[in-house]
């Protein structure tokens, strides 16, 4: 509508229109407005700790301790080299990735049918149960460290990957159910029925028709599971000692005879951020919906 009305007007005064536009553009370029300043400040505060970590990871220990420098004077990759060549370092990453993957897969596989039940069926106590799911997330993990430690020690699960993965499902399954239910509710029930009428059995319908429809929801739920499991330190450290020791535990325990190895720790920190950043990149388009738990 608006372009229809403006078109004849613009044609009648062509000089006016063409002159006004570049003028406005140059003015905008040279006078930063409020939102630009806010944006720059925001990025500055956001990136500063990450930059400083990166900065440290590329310096030698001597330089880190010698004084203030905004960028590395003697650029070195020795810190990274150490992490990637020393098994006691890189196995931390491997262990973390193993139990995080196990946990994510486990959580999603368990949460999918649960969320489907909550979104499609009415059963006794369904609303209360749905809310109670979240109460698990209200307790700090420290509460569960002791019972898990004792339980897993006595059944011989201590210091295994599956121990950490199982411990984390306590927090991740409720969250995944909550997120997935929101996405599933957005799919009309008639699609289920049409599939049954067409002859699909339930498992076939669920995998071939339903899951593609909530693929973004599954992605978001998996992301949240991944993120929680990846950053969670307390349980993973309590439940492991050597064989399944996660990188976060390795980092916080590394104090050598000569004191803290600042450069290597910083490099480990950078490498720890990377997987999270990678995953966020893949789900960035759905993340807002995920934070709204699918209830947009």
């Amino acid at each position: 509508m608006s372009d229809v009305t403006s078109a004849p007007g613009a044609a009648s005064i062509p000089g006016d229109v063409s002159a006004a536009e570049p003028q406005a553009r140059t003015r905008r370029r040279f006078r930063p407005n409020g939102s630009m300043i806010v944006m720059v400040l925001y990025l500055l505060f956001l990136m500063l700790p990450i930059y400083w970590l990166l900065n440290m990871s590329l310096k030698t220990n001597a330089e880190i301790l010698s004084g203030f420098s905004l960028w590395p004077r003697n650029l070195t990759l020795a810190n990274y080299e150490k992490i990637l060549s020393d098994p006691s370092w890189y196995m931390g990453y491997v262990n973390s990735i193993i139990y995080v993957t196990m946990n994510t897969v486990l959580s999603i596989v368990v949460a999918l049918p649960a969320a489907y039940a909550f979104s499609r069926y009415r059963f006794m106590g369904d609303k209360h149960l749905f809310f109670w799911l979240l109460t698990n997330r209200m307790a700090p993990p420290a509460v569960f460290a002791l019972p898990f430690f004792q339980l897993y020690s006595s059944v011989g699960l201590f210091d295994t990957h599956i121990a950490v993965a199982l411990a984390h499902t306590l927090f991740n399954v409720p969250l995944a159910v909550w997120i997935l239910e929101g996405f599933m509710r957005g799919v009309p029930r008639e699609i289920d029925e049409t599939a049954y009428i067409d002859g699909y059995s339930f498992p076939k319908f669920f995998v071939k028709i339903f899951m593609p429809l909530i693929a973004s929801g599954i992605g978001v739920a998996a992301f949240f599971c991944f993120m929680f499991s990846w950053v969670e330190l307390l349980l993973s450290r309590t439940l492991t000692s050597v064989d399944a020791k996660p990188i976060a535990a390795t980092m916080t325990r590394t104090v050598s005879a000569s004191g803290l190895d600042w450069g290597v720790l910083a490099a480990a920190g950078v490498l720890t951020i990377l997987p999270g950043a990678l995953v966020i990149w893949f789900v960035r388009n759905y993340i807002a919906k995920g934070f709204a738990l699918g209830r947009v």
């Binding site: 009309p188 008639e190 049954y196 009428i197 067409d198 028709i209 593609p212 429809l213």
Partner: protein, 362 residues
């Protein structure tokens, strides 16, 4: 093939959605379920499809009890009012999906899909996803899927309600033709009496979970068994006029007395309910026998070539459908004329006593 409902009813949480219903639908017929929203059309269809189990009664398919049979194992197809397709599949895969599940050969599937796509004018869109299509095309995709399934029972739940006027007319003309050759039992739910008449076949009128009448569409239209059926099968709804027959005259509300002419004269003395359709109300006297009513105009609606007049007659609201555009002011006094030959007579509690005389003459 027949579909028989035997004493079928449905109660959900203490509320009766469908009262005891007996219905037999014959092979190769178009059966229209006509009723206002919440009258139970969809509930009845879900029972027929097997999506819901009836609380009481049995559902027979060719005389065989299929009451507890899973919907997957019944030969039914259903199209919803909402455009329901599988969004993650292409139109081709959507149409092909019921045949793929039943394990037909690739060439067989391809032939059937292309044939029904051609029929539904979907051939250029076979590679697209349903959500990239217009509403009418999406619904045609759903119809095509119902068509290829070669189901014995095809349920169409207000398939055209969400479409715009032009498309609706176009598809409404196509649907009976398409399904005629398929030879299945068709059940078509609609809220519009006009649609039921255009589709032909049989009609079952529904009111508050009860099938009030089932029969051939023109027959039901001309001979409604009771006032409820007549109200459902008239759009705008039928107008009602209570009167008392005493001797040779009719006593109307407000103390008026008119001579009982024609068929009305043959009624036994007593209180009745007269009913007439909006299109039988006139604003000019057309015959000597017409009864005149002094009314007040409440609202007029002009549709372009016709005028709806909402009249107030002693506190009762009547609707008239008048040909041509009239320039009328709300609030003005208006004389409405009614030919007694167009009046259906119902007993006070509903059942039809005498159909309108014009129906008998036809």
């Amino acid at each position: 093939m027949t579909l028989t409902l035997e004493g079928v009813s449905k109660r959900v949480e203490g509320q009766t959605h469908i009262h005891r219903t007996d219905l037999t639908l014959q092979n190769g017929t178009m059966n229209v379920l006509l009723g206002p929203t919440l009258s139970g059309k969809t509930s009845l269809m879900r029972l027929m499809a097997g999506l819901d189990a009836p609380t009481t009664g049995r559902i027979l398919w060719n005389g065989e009890d299929v009451t507890g049979v899973r919907v997957q194992d019944r030969k039914v197809a259903m199209v919803y009012q909402q455009f329901i397709n599988y969004p993650s599949m292409t139109v081709y895969d959507n149409i092909a999906s019921p045949m793929r599940i039943s394990g037909k050969s690739k060439s067989e599937i391809d032939a059937a899909v292309r044939k029904s796509a051609e029929m539904m004018k979907l051939t250029p869109f076979l590679d697209r996803k349903p959500l990239e299509l217009s509403g009418g095309q999406q619904q045609r995709c759903a119809l095509a899927r119902a068509l290829v399934k070669d189901a014995g029972l095809v349920l169409l739940d207000e398939p055209l309600a969400n479409l715009d006027y032009k498309l609706r007319e176009e598809l409404r003309a196509e649907i009976p033709k398409i399904f005629e050759e398929a030879g299945s039992i068709f059940v078509y739910a609609t809220t519009e009496p006009e649609e039921a008449l255009l589709l032909g076949g049989h009609v079952a009128t529904l009111w508050e979970g009860r099938v009030t009448q089932f029969g051939e569409t023109p027959q039901v239209y001309r001979h409604p068994v009771d006032a409820t059926t007549a109200r459902v099968f008239s759009d705008p709804p039928m107008n009602f006029l209570p009167f008392e027959k005493r001797g040779g005259s009719l006593h109307l509300d407000g103390g008026r007395e008119v001579p009982a002419a024609g068929a009305l004269g043959a009624l036994r003395d007593g209180r009745y309910m007269g009913g007439f359709r909006p299109n039988h109300m006139e604003l000019e006297r057309s015959g000597a026998g017409d009864i005149a009513f002094e009314t007040r105009l409440a609202v007029t609606e002009i549709t372009g070539s016709e005028t709806f007049v909402h009249l107030d007659h002693h506190g009762t609201r009547w609707v008239g459908l008048i040909h041509g555009v009239r320039n009328l002011r709300p609030g003005q006094a208006l004389t409405a004329y009614l030919d007694p030959a167009h009046v259906y007579v119902f007993a006070e509690d509903g059942p039809l006593v005498a159909p309108a005389a014009y129906v008998e003459a036809a």
